[in-house]
């Protein structure tokens, strides 16, 4: 058995930022375990620009953003293992992993930071009838083929789902000479950023069909086409609107799911809304000493926030190892009236930083509404918002002084209000 103070599972943007933060907060006994053959995670295949506006005040591509963190990790001499698959985490913090040189490696950690990221929802989750021909890819898989391997997944493409990766791939495939016939979105609004709708679809005259979905896939060996239907207010396909669209490829950009198989093995409590661990203000999961940050915790839109969140998890993992994290009563954050979830879900005032950032998404589109924060029954924040949409993560900031002023505070409620 090998011993390390802090073991970080995953070397993507969250893992890298967590490691740097651990180091800078005074703990150098860190190891990052990464299953791919390089650090940087999914950023390596996100060759488009738009990353890092908050962190570096400039627009970088994914590989450039990752490279800055990788360079920092390497210059600090932080230990990492590539091609290393973590296969188990126990609740007493033994991390088991395998790779070709070390074989089975068991590390007893004092603290673990979960930064495994997320994975794409697959065809199997959608129940679209049809054979299982070649030519059906998740948008991220297609992105890897095109940008890392240099292969085109197809020539005539329909994209189901208007998540950001799907939009980015619509442009990317068009620039590489494919014909992207349409992007279908079952919801009445896109889940992607406005900037991507304009710069990836409108710029190339690719139609975005809102309230439309794919109801059948044709082709036995290879996709030959798809049936596209409009949906009603209950998202049920309207039979009379069926339209056959010829294509050889269907890309799916239908949502991301935090990848928590390992967390579950360690019996970390999972939030049903986010599909990520339940965490407190320190980003500690239900198992003391196991922390989580980034897309494994909840799916983010911007990598800058992933890096910030992970830095907080790193700092608190160091505190935990030093036995500086307090246990005790926590204040619950209740999300209701249009607020789907919050991260964190609880705050222990003894551990709270000067400000606690609470991130969340709304469950619907709201225009000219208010974001309100109640401390027990007292409304302390009432922010006018011209628009709130599930596609864009929101955040509010809770100052520590609120807790000092209210020693008996039980509950914080965050909600959307009409007025």
């Amino acid at each position: 058995m090998i011993n390390h103070d802090i073991v970080i599972i995953g070397g993507g943007p969250a893992g890298l930022a967590a490691a740097i933060s651990c180091y800078e907060n005074g703990n150098q006994d860190i190891i990052i375990l990464e299953r791919d053959n390089s650090l940087g995670g999914i950023l390596n295949q996100c060759i488009h620009n738009g990353f890092g506006l908050h962190t570096f005040k400039e627009e970088l591509t994914g590989p450039e953003y990752a490279a800055r963190y990788v360079a920092k990790v390497q210059s600090l001499g932080i230990d990492y293992r590539l091609n290393t698959m973590v296969i188990d985490i126990s609740k007493d913090k033994v991390v088991s992993s395998i790779n070709e040189t070390d074989g089975l490696m068991q590390i007893q950690a004092k603290a673990i930071i979960l930064t495994m990221g997320c994975r794409e929802r697959s065809r199997g989750a959608l129940n679209i009838p049809g054979y299982r021909p070649a030519g059906i890819f998740s948008a991220g898989t297609a992105q890897r083929y095109v940008n890392i391997e240099g292969y085109m997944p197809g020539r005539q493409i329909v994209i189901l789902g208007s998540g950001d990766i799907g939009l980015i791939m619509a442009r990317r495939l068009t620039l590489e000479g494919a014909l992207v016939k349409m992007v279908c979105e079952i919801m009445p609004y896109s889940g992607g950023l406005k900037r991507n709708i304009v710069q990836c679809l409108d710029d190339y005259n690719i139609p975005l069909r809102l309230n439309h979905t794919v109801t059948k896939i044709f082709g036995k060996e290879r996709v030959t086409g798809v049936m596209v239907s409009e949906v009603d207010a209950f998202r049920q396909p309207i039979p009379s609107t069926e339209e056959y669209v010829e294509c050889d490829t269907l890309l799916l950009s239908v949502g991301l799911i935090p990848e928590n198989e390992l967390s579950r093995k360690a019996e970390v409590a999972i939030n049903q809304k986010t599909q990520g661990p339940e965490v407190d203000e320190s980003l500690s999961t239900s198992i003391p000493g196991i922390f989580a940050a980034g897309n494994v915790l909840h799916v983010h839109d911007l990598v800058d926030y992933v890096s910030m969140e992970a830095a907080l998890a790193g700092k608190n993992a160091v505190k935990y190892v030093q036995d500086l994290l307090k246990t005790g009563l926590s204040i619950v954050i209740e999300s209701k009236n249009g607020v789907r979830y919050t991260v964190p879900g609880t705050i222990n005032p003894d551990n709270a930083e000067d400000i606690t950032v609470v991130r969340f998404r709304t469950s619907d589109v709201y225009r000219d509404a208010y974001l309100s924060v109640y401390l027990d029954d007292e409304r302390v924040m009432h922010l006018k918002k011209r628009i709130l949409t599930p596609g864009e993560m929101e955040q509010i900031v809770i100052p520590k002084k609120w807790f000092a002023e209210r020693p008996n505070l039980k509950k914080i409620t965050i909600m959307v209000e009409k007025e």
Partner: protein
């Protein structure tokens, strides 16, 4: 007199205001539909001088990776995107490559270089 109407969507925030720009003889006559200052400025720029950063990949010879990602160092005129992609077609580069290495000096007479955005070691 040449009149033209352009409809664009503002990307300043999630509102996505639909903007209408009336153009007469190449000059902006009116902008409507914006609900903040940023929207008005976006419309002006998008109609008079729309620019984009182009990103793509180039095959690598003898590298640890098969492809290196590249970008135009700054944004280039939107109507040059296609030419820029054509300039990258059939191009190959030799490893090693560092981030920032110039792949094409002055792409399509834009005055903007195409640079590598990933480091690739020699195999």
């Amino acid at each position: 007199m040449v009149k033209e109407t352009k409809n664009i969507i503002c990307i300043g925030c999630p509102m996505g205001c639909p903007l209408t720009v009336e153009i007469e003889d190449g000059k902006i006559k009116s902008i409507t539909g914006y609900t903040c200052k940023r929207g008005e400025e976006y419309a002006k720029k998008e109609v008079t001088n729309p620019r984009r950063t182009v990103t793509s990949i180039v095959p690598v010879v003898a590298g640890e990776l098969d492809m290196v990602s590249v970008k135009t160092k700054t944004d280039i005129p939107k109507n040059k995107i296609k030419d820029c992609m054509l300039a990258l077609k059939n191009l190959k580069v030799d490893a090693p490559i560092d981030i920032g290495d110039v792949i094409i000096e002055n792409v399509c007479e834009t005055g903007v270089p195409i640079i590598a955005t990933k480091a690739v070691k020699r195999r």
